[in-house]
Symmetry: none
Amino acid sequence: MVEYRIDRGSGVPAYVQIVDQTERALRMGTLKVGDKLPTAREVVAATAINPNTVLRAYRDMEQAGLVELRRGLGTFVTRSLARPGAEGDSPLRREITDWTARARAAGLERADVLALVTAALDAYDDERDTHTPGDRERKKEDA
Amino acid sequence: MVEYRIDRGSGVPAYVQIVDQTERALRMGTLKVGDKLPTAREVVAATAINPNTVLRAYRDMEQAGLVELRRGLGTFVTRSLARPGAEGDSPLRREITDWTARARAAGLERADVLALVTAALDAYDDERDTHTPGDRERKKEDA
Amino acid sequence: MVEYRIDRGSGVPAYVQIVDQTERALRMGTLKVGDKLPTAREVVAATAINPNTVLRAYRDMEQAGLVELRRGLGTFVTRSLARPGAEGDSPLRREITDWTARARAAGLERADVLALVTAALDAYDDERDTHTPGDRERKKEDA
Amino acid sequence: MVEYRIDRGSGVPAYVQIVDQTERALRMGTLKVGDKLPTAREVVAATAINPNTVLRAYRDMEQAGLVELRRGLGTFVTRSLARPGAEGDSPLRREITDWTARARAAGLERADVLALVTAALDAYDDERDTHTPGDRERKKEDA
DNA sequence: GTGGTCTAGACCACT
DNA sequence: GTGGTCTAGACCACC
């Protein structure tokens, strides 16, 4: 079962945080097709945000084709975002888990780690853009 | 010079994106004390957002003690967030750059990479929480 | 400018009525790409429904790719649903206008007219289904 | 025998769709006084909605005086909504059947056809409103 | 002054 | 007891 953690005061709307965290769980395979999301009530109990806000997030994901809201039953995953290469026992995953642990142990904060990865992603994209001419764009997921 | 990229439609307020990206540059050392941020005019030209929105972000960072607005001159960095271990030639940085490139080359999207790192960070924190009792909290930067 | 008419008590959610009426205007060419929808405030003034309900409808249409909400500016049509054959001076349109007038003059109510057309649509679909075997389905727009 | 088709996802409550479709059949004469509606069980089998929802619709129609629920026997039509002019062999009906077929053959979708008719109805009402002063109102059946 | 988020709470639809 | 609509009103982001 997913557990949402809402950071009030991050400036990021609560419903966006729910959507992002759900998508992340889908990408990681933590959430699979058919799985049930926590009910709005459960999320409310766990996070102290308003039921309407939770439903807003669920509705958005429904329109995005990720989940299905069934009245009287709950909300269920209808599409997977899982990627080969991101499984729990993949080499890439073992490596990043190890690297992250070392980075944290070296005194880097969560934000530092994410900044490093973002910089690495940007570097990779810029590298590719340079070699393959075309319109240079970085895809969302930035903020 | 930092280059802001605003993702309209990410749901994240534009001024938050500016602050986040600036902080990231500070953590990475891309931006150092004394450096000048782009003028509102320049940001507007590059991103098509309203000057007031840029100024709002700069004012927020001034209040956070990160930058100083000198009227007629520009906005200047007053504090560093750089971390030892995150320098451009540090081993951690070389490793993550390499790993990211391999992950992307393996077909993972930007979002997948960030999801993997976030999961690794969560795993690390949970691990520590288990061994060292205390209030279990994950700090912002999550959404 | 579109003018929404909300039938409270029809059982159909107000935001659905707004979406339906907007789509209808798009199909008829009454609303064209670039046109501005009435502001939420204007709709509120004209229909006595809550601003949030209007915004809910506009947001839904934005996600459907029909309109774009620009903060501080308004809501604008981004996609046309106009169909060749449905223009104001097309033969089909002249014919239906004439037929409808005669039906109404003959004492049929609005609901009768719509029932007749729906029956005719059903008959047409059933006819086709009979001749071309396959899964028999009637598309939405039914309720 | 009527055959209900429920469009989940149209936003219109299922029980409203049942009532609407029944009324339409009454107006068209497809359903006559004394006719038996399908049992809740049959509707459930055909539409995969909950029996309670069907009963809710039947009860609403009973209160509206359209049908009578006889326990153990079924639900029966008690009132006609048929209109002279809408019979199966009336000229108006032949004309609209023909027109609809041509409209569909010309590439118009079901929704386009309904939009055209609605526009024609609106035009007719507006015309009359202009010539005969009074409160200008469009009756339900709109959404 | 535009759209946008969130809250609170009432009532409804559906299983 | 699930999700769903709507209202009212406060406050925010953006132009």
